[in-house]
């Protein structure tokens, strides 16, 4: 069966750590980092990258437009 694999790239420096993407992700791919960026924000990152399905829900709700999403069909 064809499966979709996704990947997200978060622009850490522009992220404001609002967590909206984290709670929006249907696959619990994202989390806020314990480290902060130069503005002091706990930026979002793919804590569980294998779970990503490339649905882009995180990216479209991000107020700052810092998430880029890729996806491929595998199998």
């Amino acid at each position: 069966m064809a499966k979709i694999k996704g990947a997200v790239v978060v622009d850490r420096e522009r992220c404001k750590g609002c967590e909206v993407c984290v709670v929006t992700c249907p696959t619990e791919t994202l989390a806020l980092a314990t480290e902060v960026n130069s503005k002091g924000y706990h930026y979002s990152y793919a804590a569980n990258p294998d779970a990503c399905i490339g649905c882009a829900n995180c990216a479209v709700v991000c107020p700052d437009g810092v998430i880029t999403v890729y996806k491929v069909k595998v199998g």
């Binding site: 694999k5 996704g6 990947a7 790239v9 522009r14 404001k16 750590g17 609002c18 967590e19 909206v20 709670v23 929006t24 924000y41 990258p49 490339g54 649905c55 882009a56 829900n57 995180c58 990216a59 479209v60 709700v61 991000c62 107020p63 700052d64 437009g65 810092v66 998430i67 880029t68 999403v69 890729y70 996806k71 491929v72 595998v74 199998g75």
Partner: protein
């Protein structure tokens, strides 16, 4: 087959979503999680996809979104507080070939600019009004607005809005929908991916209606103000769904006959 790696996936041909090219590189000044940013992203996508960059004039309000012209790369004109619809009227009448929109908060549109809003809609000016209703004066420190919910605390209603003294929150979309000049009146949200996608479709319809000279389009976005509401962004979006949506229900209020 070998396991596909992260670097195999993040190739240009696999791109599924990237923010609009019409968004400038400026970092937006909005507080973390503020719906203004999300609404800007969606609007920029629509202007890009509809090839409107060269043909658009946006009118910015007074309020947190006063600096919107720094973020979306189209022509803008700044209006005095509440006067965006009047300025939009002038721009559209002088340059009918332009796509003209206003972008206004609830203090701007439903308080100081009530007269401009109502008369512009009543005249049926061929413009789009985007109304960001966060139930508060965000920019100036979270004062009560005409849209503040009953019992909702703000810096000028610290015990909650008392409707016996302040009246009930005003539903601007329902009011302008009664005017014959409006052709499309609809209420949306940008706090979920589904909401964002519906808002985007509504914006595209408004572009079509303006191209067809159908009259005023009015799109409300019921949104958050985490700082003014004194909540985290995630809490504010939950509060929005539980408290704002019942009072300001999402969906179409008026649609034109096809």
């Amino acid at each position: 087959m070998a396991e596909i790696t992260f670097n195999d996936i993040i190739k240009p041909e696999n791109l599924a979503y990237k923010r609009s090219k019409l968004m400038t590189d400026n970092v937006m000044h909005y507080c973390p999680g503020c719906g203004h940013g999300t609404a800007h992203q969606v609007l920029a996508e629509v202007l890009e996809e509809e090839n409107l960059q060269e043909r658009t004039v946006g009118i910015t309000p007074v309020g947190c979104s006063v600096l919107m012209y720094n973020y979306i790369d189209v022509d803008f004109q700044e209006a005095a507080h509440g006067r965006a619809p009047a300025l939009a009227t002038a721009v559209k009448r002088l340059m009918p070939e332009k796509f003209v929109f206003t972008y206004q908060g609830d203090g701007d549109l439903a308080a100081i600019g009530t007269a401009e809003t109502i008369h512009t809609c009543n005249r049926g000016e061929n413009i789009l009004i985007i109304f960001i209703n966060n139930g508060i004066y965000g920019m100036t420190g979270g004062q009560m607005a005409p849209t503040t919910l009953p019992g909702m605390k703000s810096s000028t209603s610290p015990y909650g809005r008392d409707v016996s003294m302040m009246g009930s929150p005003i539903k601007m979309a329902d009011i302008v929908a009664m005017l014959p000049g409006t052709c499309y009146v609809t209420r949306h949200s940008v706090n979920t991916a589904g909401g964002v996608r519906k808002f985007k479709r509504a914006l595209k319809k408004a572009v079509q209606y303006q191209n067809e000279n159908r009259g005023t389009c009015f799109i409300e976005v019921v949104s958050n103000c985490p700082s003014g509401w004194k909540m985290t962004p995630v809490e504010s979006n939950k509060w929005l769904e539980e408290n704002m949506f019942p009072y300001y229900p999402l969906g179409d209020i008026k649609v034109p006959a096809e």
